[in-house]
Amino acid sequence: MALLAQAAPVLETTLVQLVKAVAIFAFILQVVPLILLLERKLLGRFQSRYGPNRVGAYGLLQPLADVFKLLSKESSTPATAVPWMMAIAPVISVSTAVAALAIIPFGPQGAWGGDLGLYGIDVPIGLLYFFAFGSLAFYALMLGGWASGSKYSFLGSMRSAAQLISYEVAIGLSLLGVAMTAGSLSLVDIVEAQGSGEGAFGMWFVIPQFVGFLIFLVAGFAETARPPFDLPEGDAEIVGGYNTEYGGMRFGSFFMAEYIEVIVISGVATACFFGGWHGPGPEALAPLWVVLKMFAFIVLFIWVRATLPRLRYDQLMTFGWKVLLPLATLNVLVTAILLVVI
């Protein structure tokens, strides 16, 4: 009995963690089709058309129809492919994207009573964890492209990897300024630093770290391979990118992972620059504010997609290495100097 009593708190925390994990996954599965529909509807309206409106009222069932279509398609494997690697790549893609979402804080500890924190996990190395899983996502693209046994897939995956590596540096440095200002890598601490009102840092970090925010935003577009940086899926040059040979729900998984990455980037931007759960009203409304802010970012992603044409490949590289990287380094330097001086 004594042993059981000893194990009880551990069991309870494990259980709570499990529930949280399931909740996060369920949230993602609900939100991704919603974003898909939102994107297609909004893109339509941005281009003076209706967007999907045939399946269900106002086209609300369109994502469901898409998923059923993908489920009914064959997952073919080319003769030159490495089947098990090809099967594992989409799994890596989705799991790394969902894992990165675990650190997005939706509310402070105790917002919904008890000592329950409204986030998957609060790791002290929060931002590093985010970058780690962002980098692990490379393996999905590289494996997927290489194991397909098709030169176009391989070219596509090389291109994706080159782009992601180039912008990973800038995105890291842009968040370094935030981490220095907050004095912590944990996203929960970073959000709390934006509301505590100590010194100048009670404000949202978008104000003191405006340059950092712009760099993060641009690099975030590139990290998620969203327009205007959607070079990995250059239909005209490389057929379709690393997922060319994929069909059915394997392709659907890659597709879903891309949208989860958009959610993750929006969540990190909300937490690091826009005060996370801080907003008017009682503390129990915290998740609402986070979700609202995230959706504002997602709408921005869609808005930019409807507006800007794609960059040329050399422009992409030039911009990443010659503009964003020096700018981000300068931002970190200036932040560091200011923090020491103040």
Binding site: L42, G44, R45, F46, Q47, S48, R49, Y50, N53, W303, V304, A306, T307, L308
Partner: protein, 180 residues
Amino acid sequence: MSDTPYALSDDVIAVQRGPEPGGLGGAYRVFGATLRGLRTTLGRLAEKPVTVEYPEEKTPVYPRFRGRHKLHKFEDSNLEKCVGCSLCVAACPAECIRVVAAENTPDHQVSAGERYAAVYEINMTRCIFCGYCEVACPFDAITMGNDYELADYDRSDLIFTKEMLLAEPVERTPLRREGE
């Protein structure tokens, strides 16, 4: 202009060039252009879509629109106008009309003339809707209607017989009003 090795005549207009790309000025202009682009797309969001939702909503056609043919009858005597002269067959560049004429008899009076079209078929898969048949017809027996929704599942269903062409067509196409 002075360093050109040849003289430019007066009617040559120098090309207007934009500012050089790159540099801080370039970055500023690109930023401005991006914001202007974002404003343009946002403006579309406020407007109503221009989409014509086709099967429910049809674009009206002009009165002289050349759609599916119609054969006509005299309104008073209910006799067919077509006398089976085959001038439309001769005029048709796509050779899609087939007419077999037959004699009218007093107890079987079909048309107003001596003869009538026993068979009058138009193959809509071949018809190019040029309207030459309408022009060739001396009795205005065949005219081009307004209907353009002619899709079908079977080619043989698209060979329109005399009965189909004579029948009052289901009005499926709105007509553009005067001045529209």
